[in-house]
């Protein structure tokens, strides 16, 4: 005789085992879905609020519907409000978030400069940031030279966009220097010194700070740039000496701070 109980047990085990993969799949799906919902919505509080609002509004709708039966005159307006309570809350939330995002993070459009690469690759010419030709004749010569350079250094072409900004500020400085050469205004030379310092051209920064000091030795910023440039150029002792002299003369607190920083090695 067959042991039916034993067979039934085994059949049940087999049946349960056959359902296991489906169960696992379903559980993982549920887990993924809940995690996605959790991360998408951000916080549960908002969801609860929305749910509460929707529940409240649905309750209101039921009340309103009851009223509708009694007051047919109010019907149109109330149903118009009552018909879309959940959508309204969601839309309101969306509007609020967009308002917040627009006020906090103002949308800033940025141009796409990818076309520059296309032009750059389609034309044999390449741009080199080191020299800015002033006359047409010199331009042509420079262009020819650049052609040769570009043939040798083809993979460096992608750097075009980065160089634009630097040239822009360099151009600004050149304009300012032109004006300085005309009127010898120390404010202009100081501007040039500061800009050159920001660009990392410490030699020029030093030169223009020196020129500014010669014209007017009472400008604190100029002395500071002068000393900073000296430090950057590796002439720390000279910078310290200059600052000490200037502090003796002007009692400048900013110069004193800079002097301390240089001595402590905070400013390098």
């Amino acid at each position: 005789m067959l042991n039916i109980h034993e067979l039934e047990k085994r059949w049940l085990q087999y049946k349960i085992k056959s359902y296991i993969p489906y169960l696992v799949l379903a559980l993982t799906l549920i887990f993924i879905l809940t995690s996605v919902i959790f991360f998408m919505n951000g916080s549960k509080e908002d969801n609860n609020e929305v749910k509460n609002n929707s529940v409240k509004k649905t309750k209101q709708t039921s009340l309103e519907k009851q009223e509708e039966k009694t007051k047919p005159v109010k019907n149109a307006v109330q149903t118009a409000i009552a018909n879309k309570p959940i959508y309204q809350t969601n839309e309101d939330k969306k509007e609020q978030t967009t308002k917040i995002s627009s006020t906090q993070n103002h949308l800033i459009l940025k141009p796409s400069m990818e076309f520059m690469k296309n032009i750059h690759t389609s034309t044999p010419d390449s741009y080199h940031p080191t020299s800015i030709p002033t006359k047409k004749k010199t331009e042509k010569k420079v262009v020819k030279k650049r052609k040769e350079v570009s043939k040798q250094k083809a993979p460096q072409e992608e750097k075009v966009q980065i160089t634009i900004k630097r040239r822009e500020s360099e151009n600004d400085i050149k304009e300012v220097i032109k004006r300085f050469q005309k009127n010898n205004n120390p404010a202009l030379s100081l501007f040039a010194a500061k800009k050159y310092y920001e660009l990392g051209n410490y030699k020029q920064a030093y030169n223009y700070a020196l020129v500014t000091n010669k014209i007017n030795n009472d400008i604190e910023d100029s002395w500071l740039i002068f000393a900073k440039s000296l430090v950057k150029l590796g002439k720390k002792e000279q910078a310290l000496k200059t600052l000490r002299e200037y502090i003796k003369y002007s009692h400048s607190s900013n110069a004193q701070v800079l002097l301390d920083e240089i001595q402590r090695g905070k400013f390098r």
Binding site: L107, L109, S112, S122, T123, P133, I164, D172, V176, K195
Partner: protein, 180 residues
């Protein structure tokens, strides 16, 4: 053979013009680049890189009204559409600022997208000015660089009012933009 030669010549001339424009642009000669682009625009209006280059040259030369045509022609690639949107925002802001400054039109409630262009920055500052605070000139300080500031005012030249935006670094005027 004759046609091939002609084709070669045409492509060569085309490349030269684009190349010239690009060199001018790189050398910051925006006015010349814009002028060259304007001259040859009808021939190369289907080339979006050319139109974009023309647009940026005119933008940096402060010829903002010339952006109207690139705005309409730049539409076939994602990049071109981004540039068209960029140009159109600047053009719109210029027109609105002009209207607001001359006719005292209230633009304080407007919330437009902004750009990194100087006119957009000034437009954003101006929209925050209350209507009661109207003045002969406005000075705005840059948010990122405290030493940078912008002066906005109107001038009248040959019966036309012009917007003037001056960029200052500390107390030194570094650039002047005139729009009308």
């Amino acid at each position: 053979m004759r046609y091939l030669l002609l084709l070669f010549l045409v492509t060569n001339i085309y490349a030269n013009i684009k190349e010239d424009m690009f060199t001018l642009y790189q050398n910051k000669k925006f006015k010349e680049a814009c002028r060259v682009g304007f001259k040859h625009f009808s021939t190369y209006k289907k080339d979006e890189s050319f139109v974009s280059l023309y647009g940026f040259s005119c933008l940096y030369a402060d010829y903002i009204d010339r952006l109207a045509i690139p705005i309409t022609t730049l539409k076939y690639s994602k990049e071109a559409r981004a540039n068209a949107a960029y140009f159109s925002v600047i053009l719109m802001q210029k027109k609105l600022l002009y209207h607001a400054l001359i006719d005292n039109y209230d633009i304080s409630l407007l919330k437009l997208p902004s750009t990194d262009y100087v006119l957009s920055k000034v437009f954003d500052f101006y929209t925050k000015v209350q209507k009661q605070e109207k003045r002969h000139y406005y000075i705005f300080k840059d948010k990122t660089d405290p030493k940078l500031s912008y002066k906005l005012y109107l001038v009248k030249e040959n019966y036309t009012a012009k917007i003037v935006i001056e960029e200052f670094y500390d107390t030194i005027m570094i650039k002047r933009h005139i729009y009308w």
